[in-house]
């Protein structure tokens, strides 16, 4: 029942805003629907805390320690982003960058996007998971091209085609998975339910599953932004409106990685080898290194932080690939911390770009003089994402690195060099933007920066103290994922 509300709220919001998304009150309605979704997720979380894992509607949906915190995180970031988007999109509309039809599209698709991500996270059916992932692409593709500039159209086309092709590979993987499952579980609706598959994973045909995993990893990995399949990501993040960059980076990438990890559990059970882990480590490490070296060449601030997302998703994929209790714990913590930090950074970046009238880093200077809150938000957010203690990202990166030193020492130099290069690149570019001299004016409107500092406070808390429920879920999920 809680799941019904959790999924129903954004769906209802999508329909309501499709009709009223251009009105004066639409941003508030958008925020209210996101708040309702967040409340539903709290009720669901409370139920999981009390009763343990739940399943609903004939096992079509289920919530276990692995996805419960992702559901809450998704609902939370979707809500704070809607709070950020209220003043941000009003300013954009006043600047004449958006017509009423586009505002309607934006608000409606924002809610539908939340719906598809929550559906992907809560469904028990590997087929529906695929459908929801594809739907998540479809809902955001027209948002990337919302401003209709040539660059944004190109970015959206690239996003559409690359993710469409990628996700088609994942469908092939799902078909192969079903092909193997059907022999054990029989034809029919239950053969794609993850819980059923997980129960019989030792009996699934290993050759079919290893081939299926390659397709699933390539398919969903495209959406995670793993190199060399990451081409769409910097463009889509840079050209879309900032609230969309924040949810793409903070949430969608997580959800796609969630799909990969769910598949990995099944394949590991069937193969009894480290095949899937090795593949994920390879892709992850390559993404970390490649993204770190691209960081220093960026001129557009949103592109730079998009590459930083690729780097962090690579790191998380690498950690999941290593497996084991500590690395998986660290990967889950990093997922949470990255998603909060990166969306906070995008909020600050959005206002900084709005103030300066450009996304080019050369044009953004001296934020701390004119708008101190934006400046501090960007500075603290960048320090947090670079893994400075005492923020949460430090804790998870530390755990990942120490585990890598123990178990895969060959990978440590690559990781350390990449993290160092990333630090130098981002720090060197953020510093003049925050502290430099400027002749620019103050942002005429009050910026919406409460979400930035709420997120950063949470990340700080994760670095110092992890709430016992969360730690418990991480541990249980780590045990589940192996």
């Amino acid at each position: 029942m809680e799941i019904f509300f959790l999924l129903g709220m954004p769906l209802l919001g999508g329909f309501l805003l499709a009709l009223t998304g251009h009105r004066r009150f639409a941003p508030d309605l958008n925020g209210a629907m996101s708040l309702a979704t967040l409340l539903a997720s709290f009720v669901l979380t409370a139920k999981v805390i009390n009763d343990g894992p739940v399943s609903a509607f004939n096992e079509q949906f289920f919530i276990d320690p692995f996805n419960v915190f992702l559901v809450t995180l998704t609902a939370f970031v979707a809500f704070t982003t809607s709070m950020f988007s209220r003043p941000y999109m009003r300013i954009e509309a006043e600047h004449g960058r958006l017509s009423t039809a586009r505002l309607r599209l934006y608000h409606s698709m924002y809610q539908m996007f939340t719906f598809t991500m929550l559906l992907a996270l809560t469904t028990n059916n590997m087929g529906i998971l695929w459908v929801a992932m594809e739907a998540a692409t479809l809902t955001t593709v027209l948002l990337v091209s919302l401003y209709r500039t040539p660059a944004s159209l190109e970015a959206a086309w690239k996003y559409f085609i690359l993710c469409g092709v990628g996700i088609a590979q994942a469908l092939f993987g799902t078909i192969l998975l079903y092909f193997a499952a059907e022999k054990v579980l029989g034809a029919g609706g239950n053969a794609l339910l993850w819980t059923h598959l997980n129960a019989v994973k030792g009996l699934l045909e290993p050759t079919v599953l290893s081939l299926a995993f390659v397709f699933l990893l390539v398919g969903y990995g495209t959406k995670v932004g793993l190199a060399p399949l990451h081409n769409w990501l910097p463009d889509a993040h840079a050209e879309g409106p900032t609230p969309i960059s924040a949810v793409l980076s903070g949430l969608l990438l997580n959800v796609a990685l969630y799909a990969v990890v769910r598949s990995k559990v099944l394949v590991d059970g069937a193969l009894h080898s480290h095949f899937s882990g090795n593949l994920m480590m390879g892709f992850g490490l390559f993404s970390v290194v490649l993204a770190a070296f691209f960081l220093s060449r960026q001129k557009d601030i949103k592109r730079m932080f998009a590459y930083s997302s690729i780097e962090h998703m690579g790191l998380i994929t690498f950690a999941f690939g290593m497996g084991g209790a500590v690395a998986t714990f660290a990967a889950l913590l990093h997922m949470t911390a990255h998603s909060l930090t990166k969306s906070a950074i995008f909020f600050a970046v959005g206002h900084a770009a709005q103030k300066s009238g450009t996304q080019m880093m050369d044009g953004i200077r001296g934020l701390i003089k004119t708008n101190p809150t934006i400046g501090w938000g960007l500075a603290l957010g960048s320090l947090a994402i670079l893994g400075m203690p005492p923020f949460g990202v430090f804790a998870s990166e530390f755990l990942i690195l120490t585990t890598a030193m123990h178990e895969h020492s060959w990978a440590t130099p690559f990781l350390l060099v990449a993290l160092g290069v990333a630090f130098a690149a981002i720090f060197g570019k953020v510093q003049p933007m925050v502290f430099g001299e400027t002749a620019g004016k103050r942002l005429p409107h009050p910026p919406a920066l409460a979400p930035v500092f709420v997120h950063l406070a949470l990340v700080l808390m994760l670095g110092l103290y992890i709430p016992p429920y969360l730690a418990d879920w991480y541990r249980q999920a780590a045990a589940l994922l192996g």
Binding site: V131, P150, L153, E154, I161, A168, L171, T174
Partner: protein
């Protein structure tokens, strides 16, 4: 030969349809006219429908009849109609694309087919169902459509490649297994439908902004 003679006629038919699908995939790879490309796509959908209906008859799976009907409606009637309407509105009905080096493309295509068959070989041997070569053929047509998307410079042929890839995947789903569960199939069909609409919207946006549907104009976003 003995194997072929022992096969029931329905099964031989599925192999025939599979072969036809592969043939159409090659035809699409080399087709330069946009109108003929859409007709080929509709034909591919029709053969897919027939093969699904045939599997349904062979395996007595009633829900496969529904997916055959769904395929007929979506891929044979609706999508080709939509594409025809689009090219009429965009006034590019008689567009001819310059494709470089069709023979090379075909040769690479043949290599892709060999690769797909080898990849599918261990799985085909496991299968007791109607599939023998069908999974290999399905994989080959997915790869060929993929290649078509890479070699084309115009938006509409790229999209047809995308939809053809979806056809190949559907063929894999219905011939390798007894069709995916109905709810999943409906979801996939919905996604394809929405994707087709979004592609349509895109064509107009791209044309409005770039005055052409050549993808080449949109290669500004590059790492330098």
């Amino acid at each position: 030969m003995a194997i072929v003679q022992n096969m029931p006629i329905a099964q031989q038919l599925i192999n025939l349809f599979a072969a036809l699908l592969l043939l159409i995939a090659f035809a699409m790879l080399s087709q330069r006219r946009i109108m003929s490309l859409i007709n080929l796509f509709a034909m591919q959908g029709l053969i897919l429908t027939l093969s699904i209906a045939d599997s349904a008859w062979l395996t007595h799976q009633p829900h496969l009849y529904y997916s055959a009907a769904l395929t007929l409606l979506l891929k044979v009637l609706f999508l080709p109609w939509l594409l025809h309407r689009l090219i009429r509105k965009l006034e590019i009905k008689w567009d001819v694309e310059t494709l470089i080096n069709i023979p090379t493309t075909m040769l690479i295509g043949i290599m892709l087919v060999v690769f797909a068959f080898n990849l599918a070989l261990p799985i085909s041997e496991l299968s007791g169902t109607i599939l023998r070569n069908t999974l290999g053929i399905a994989m080959a047509s997915v790869l060929l459509s993929f290649m078509m998307m890479i070699t084309r410079h115009k938006a509409i042929p790229q999209v047809i490649g995308f939809l053809a890839m979806e056809n190949g995947l559907f063929f894999a789903a219905t011939s390798a297994t007894y069709g995916m569960p109905m709810v999943v199939e409906l979801g996939i069909a919905l996604d394809v439908l929405v994707a087709a609409f979004i592609f349509g919207i895109f064509f107009f946006h791209i044309r409005e902004t770039f005055d052409s549907l050549e993808i080449r104009h949109m290669e500004k976003l590059k790492e330098d």
